[in-house]
Amino acid sequence: MPPPEVRRSIKRSAVSDQQRRRELALLRQTQQRSDSQNRARRLASSVFTLSSSSSSDLILPDKDILTRAADSEEHEAHLDESVAPARELNVVQASKLKGREARQWFARQLMLPEWMIDIPPKLDRDWYVFARPAGNRCFVVSSNGTTISRLRNGSVLHHFPSSLPNGSRTRDSSGPASSYCVLDCIFHEPDQTYYVIDMVCWRDYSLYDCTAEFRFFWLNSKLAESGACNSPSTYHRYRFSVVPIYDCNQAGLHAAYSTSMPYTKDGVLFFNKHAHYQTGNTPLALVWKDNYCSQYFLDTDSQGLVPTQQQVVLEMQEDGKLTTSDDPPVVFGSLEVDFIQKSEFRAGNLLRFAIKDESVRVVDGKLELGDLQFISKSNRARAFADSYSKVFFQYAARHSPLKIEDIAASILPNLPDDSPIVDVEMGS
């Protein structure tokens, strides 16, 4: 009969150091295997290059309002320099770019919704809707212990510490020091909050190739976890917040359009659930406004007044053609050669024109502007000409706007879950 196993004395140590070395070695190998695996998984997904579309032959103005002072020594002569060096970069490399190059690179990273000029089919099934916060659209990158927000034109809005991954110089135990994230936001002045409307990269994982459905899911599960939604503190200067996103059914549309939000609204955004994040203009994200949900229904001039005639900003091409920012560009007119020479315009200049209503025609659903009256060179802060859909939307807004009722009517009626219950008198 075997004696019961002799109990180990409390005075003898339980684990030998050799066993501990073995276990530590195993632990190290497991960790390193998982690191290699993660590196492989992130490979090719974290690197994204400039889209090879229209934007590459776009020439950007060199200055903008916010960095004018710092860049004042720059001259117009730099305008035509190639932007090639910034093409094949990923966001980490791009973060190291300075000044104009950085602005040029970042000016192309946002997905730009088209304006809603007609209602896409299956709105209720394939689309999300949400109220767009009023404010500046920005591209927010946290990396290397700091956070930088850049406006649509690529210029820096804020340089600040945040609780985003690697967004401040605090010890962040939750990720490697090299990690970064990229958000598509609107900075809302009144409450000094960045409203995140899309997530582009999170902790090194690129979400460019993910559907909006997934990106919103990710955004909602990840942002709060990071502490970025907390109130501002020393290492977190601005609060970030998500916006409520609805399925575009009757209830969702109603909520986005008429429910009050913690922020001032500036129109309504529609996102196709299946669309990837695409830089530049896309018809798979749409913006729509009316006077009820936006202070900026009709474009205003530099004095903030609605001009009597609709104005458009177009880009002058080499051959004098005046085009929109679309890919491919839509031609709305052209300038005479002697006028160009007299005015010293160069290809790529953004020019402001007024439209004569009576010369505008819609042919086969296409907008033609007819006579364009030159007003001035555009504000230097602008990076792009107007898009075709914007011009069309503004035109429609002045004549026969697309109304919320029209959009609602395109959606099959369905009872919202919280439809009021009608009281019934018993025995009556």
């Binding site: 002799v6 109990r7 390193q32 998984r41």
Partner: protein, 866 residues
Amino acid sequence: MEVTQILLNAQAVDATVRKHAEESLKQFQEQNLPAFLLSLSNELANNEKPVDSRKLAGLILKNALDAKEQLRKAELVQRWLSLDVTIKSQVKSCLLHTLSSPVPDARSTASQVIAKIAGIELPQKQWTELIASLLSNIHQLQSHVKQATLETLGYICEEVSPQVVDQDQVNKILTAVVQGMNASEGSTDVRVAATRALYNALGFAQTNFSNDMERDYIMRVVCEATLSPVEKIRQAAFECLVAISSTYYDKLASYMQDIFNITAKAVREDEEPVALQAIEFWSSICDEEIDILDEYGYSADSEVPCYYFIKQALPALVPMLLETLLKQEEDQDQDEGAWNLAMAGGTCLGLVTRTVGDDIVPLVMPFIQENITKPDWRQREAATYAFGSILEGPSSDKLIPVVDTALNFMLTALTEDPNNHVKDTTAWTLGRIFEFLHGSMLEVSVITHVNCQQILTVLLQSMKDVPNVAEKACGALYFLAQGYEDSSGSPLSPFFQEIIQSLLNVTHRDDAGESRLRTAAYETLNEVVRTSTDEIAPIVTQLLPVIMMELHKTLEGQKLSSDEREKQNELQGLLCGCLQVIIQKLGASETTKYGFMQYVDQIMELFLRVFACRNATVHEEAMLAIGALAYAVGGNFIKYMQGFYPYLEMGLQNFQEYQVCAITVGVVGDLCRALEDKILPICDGIMTQLLKNLSSSQLHRSVKPPIFSCLGDIALAIGENFEKYLIYAMPMLQSAAELSSHTVATDDEMLEYANQLRNGILEAYSGILQGFKNCPKSQLLMPYAPHILQFIDALYNEKDMDDVVMKTAVGVLGDLADTLGSHASTLMNQSVASKEFLEECLSSDDPSIKESAEWAKMAISRVVSL
């Protein structure tokens, strides 16, 4: 020559005679196994033959039926089963006949052989009449037959699992055994055999223990046996109680008062072997309650409720245990294997403390205070030992005030107490204080910057004391250093140089071979290095050539005796271990790596020479260290590959020392990550060996999961070059996957292994998929994708994978999408389980599963086309 003489010669003093006889036996066995077995069983059964030849005959028979090694065992079982029935029944009848032999050794040997055959045949539903025929022996008048029969029944219960024997037979066996234990049984030998048989039969008594009357009867007989005048019976009866305490913990409530009285009497009055078992009963109850209470930590509804026996017994149990502490043996601290009342009592007190926590402190403190300053060393030592025993379990709130007052006393005792035994226990107690009440995890630590220096001075001083005290002082320093892990500004840092020098001095002591002092000193050195802060890096860098020199010295001796060789081997192990820790420390940061790179050539040369000291095996510690070195050095390690490769291969072929094989497999992984695609030239060799290992049934099974993982490492390193191995690796993975997904795990250990295997297979898939990503050849993996998905589906449906497997499995879903794109998503749409599985993982509480699931979800959503 007849078989008797050969069997006697095989036990001859003369080696040539012995060798010749062994050779003849081997030949006989190989030439005619049936005749060989028959002849041995006849020899064993023959009362005319000398006892020595009969015993050896039985032993050889036994070895022809069973082996430790799993595969060999399976072979022997098959060989026996395929023997001719008449031969087998002749052998069996000889064996049964031997049970009535007047020669005790012959009977006992036959008992064991019968049990081995029963172990093979009963599960096959053969030899069904065995138990009935044994039970008929019980009514024999001759007590020696009765004794042998009970012994045989006991061995059978040990060999076969309870499911094999039907309840009716179990009832009869238990009845026979318990009757045999009864005081009314006249023969002592029969009662001893019966009590020992019960010990083995307890596992069969589930049903009987659920029946109040039968349980009461068994318990009464066992308890009575603990009071038998025969020491062997008392000891065996207590062993039964210990076994009952773990198997039938939940059935004990109504017996605990009686059992306490019995054990208390035995602990205080009985012979040591009996008293030790009585203490063991309480230790075993502690084990049960610690497990149950641990379980409660995870879920409120544990299967077995805790009856808090220890808590209830506490007021009586603690004084009983404290008394044992005073029964020390003079030189127990010099003897590694010593086990006596005081040691068992202190160990039990430690377990009681872990069971009840805070409640123990007020019960033990008076004993400590009363004895700690007594002139008799036994009282001082017992008090200190009691103190050291109650440090794990109670809250730090409860202990810190006590320890704060005691600390200075302990430090003084360690330097000034005249008795080595007291100093030994004092140093050990200090180590326990540092282990449990000091560290960055605790809010309040008993160590401050002020007393740390004083503690250090005392410990370094004690390291010059006699070996057993010095060894405990090293142990205390180990935990002191460990407590500063992950904390900046360790107060040890200014004394680092001094600490290292003191430890090195210990390793050079002439008596460092005693009380495992040298080992303790190197272990402590390792921990000090491991936990050192960055500012110490220059000193660690200086330590490197010192240890290298030590290792170099071990290589100088030539023509060593086997004893010297063993010592050399052990010392090389310690030094390679130390180098491993230094390499890992210095290699971990870019700044320190630079200083250490200049030594890499020499380190590698030393390791290769350590390997060369042996003929056919590789040194495990050197292998471990090389893994760390390769990872630190990275791609440049390629220049050592030519010299190292033969040992790598040798390591992979070491099936006997499977730990070495496992470590070498891990090193292949390190090499993959260090060399990346530069590993390609040696991949053919490695892959051949790994695939060979996977298909071998001789290799210990624990090595197989890491080999699968290693396939993933290789694939990830060499990318699409893995193509040529696909046709070998994939079918192997596939069949292993099928096997592991449908394992019906009958116990936790088996399930754990199944999960390790699953994880290894999944890691292999993951590495292969990621390795082929972004290359045209990735389409080669398409044919395997359905199976991979089926595997994950099967795992999901089995519902028995652990968290690690879940994490890896859900990651593989992502890898499939990531590498195979929309092709994989089409397949995934057809798999219900993978969708549900992904959802389940996404809502997991385990952050690593969730993270993996999110990656998968992202990878999948990326390939879903518009």
